[in-house]
Amino acid sequence: MNNKRNILLTLLAALLLIVPAAVFAQDTEGEAEDDLPDCPAFEGEAAPVRISYYMGEGTAFQRTGQLGSATFSYTCIIEVIDPSYIPAYIGRANIYTRNRDYDRAIEDLTTIIDLDSQSVDAYNNRGIINALIGEGETLEARYADAIADFEAAIAIDGGYVPALNNRAIVHVILEEYDEAIAIFEEILANSNVDQALTLIRNPEDDTELPDFSRDEAQAYAMLGLIRSAQALDNYDDYLTVTRGAADGRIQSAAGALESRFTFELRVDDGSYFIVADFAEEEAEVTGE
């Protein structure tokens, strides 16, 4: 009796182990290249209904940090429902980028560009990834793909601030300061930032502050950064030519500035690039 019971219990234990494994296998099956993912929600209903459902599901999973599940939701749309639905690629590319899965992110952004050749946001974000992963013996070679993407976005929309900012940052990395300054001054000239600055500096003027975006205002910060880089170059020249007999105050200032360029003012780590959020309207900053 005991032997029989032991056999039975062993079989049941095996069953309990197999059942979750089988369920898990179902979940991951969809990711195999040859199999379509299992996306049963609202099966048999019209594509817009199913797309809307999976976009909602993906959005909620993404916001709660369930990135694998969110990717699966977007993949349901892309592979099962409508391979031309751009927002699903955007959602999935954002997750791949966040996970530093850059190859897949570039693949999705490239598909967006194939589907919509005027997507400045896709060019811009692909440019950022290319800037982060670019390889080559020279800086120019390393940033060639990024430059091509930023310039493609600018060619489509000459006033598109994220790509202008990012192209200028690559100029800074390549120490092409004059070109970078020209772009940042162009961003400021085409915005209301200067007008807002004048009004803010004059509290007695009751004129309502004009709208401007945080991205546009960043141009001032970048101009400051470039001038700091130029200052550091001048300090370095001074320290080189004085060969150890330099003024200690300048030595100290140069050291502090050099440290800033290793941390806060570092431009080649991607932290000053402006990432497009694919939203129709940019967040506006007002003086209120």
Binding site: V19, R50, E57, A60
Partner: protein, 257 residues
Amino acid sequence: MRTRLRKGERFAVPLLKWTLIGVIAVALLWTTTSLSQAQLVLECPDLISELEAPTAQYYVGIGNAYFTQIDYTNAIAAYTCALDINANYAPALVRRGYAYTVQGDEDRALADYNRALELDPNLIDAYNNRGVLYMTQGNFGLAIGDFSVVIAINPEDPVAYNNRGIAYAAEGSFNLAIEDLEFALELDPEYAAPHASLGAAYTALAVQSYNEYRFISGQGEFVLPRRQPVDIIRAVDEDGVIREFEVWIPFLTPSTD
């Protein structure tokens, strides 16, 4: 001028002080926790994405994502957003009803299922989940009725056969249960639940036979515990209650997709 404290007072004053500090700390903690819990409940604008115009289906997707993460409160909030867009959207009512069921709010769950069935008398998910709710209430007859309606609408729905089989098992009709469960497997051999349900039903049948033997031979009655088939198997030799219908609830398959 300092007042000299007696020995008892020297202990009593710090004790009172620390008790007060403790009470204040607990009150602050409680307030903070309550506030953070209150902030956790999302509202419709919080759920909007710049990538997609919100529709009833969009909010159902949001709700299902929260539901799978066991965040029933926000799942209900999202389903309610779907119903704000379209008050007659039956799939959102069914899903919200199931979230209420899981939360133990049976009245609201039943109201949602009934409303969904008013809007769409052929909505299989609503019958199925209402049947599950009836089962949790011990209303086997009503549950069997709802699962039977599903079978009438779709005679090839393995979930309905599984669930009706469980309902039959819960009321002690093991042969009817086994018939339904075997048919569920015939319809979909890959459907896992009926395999476990069938094992449990056969085990219960075995216990019933053992009980008859023990009754005839003058020994006491077997009893079965709740939960998994393995517990039922163990109970063949140990103790449990075959008549406690809750033992069958985990074998039901609700509609959640």
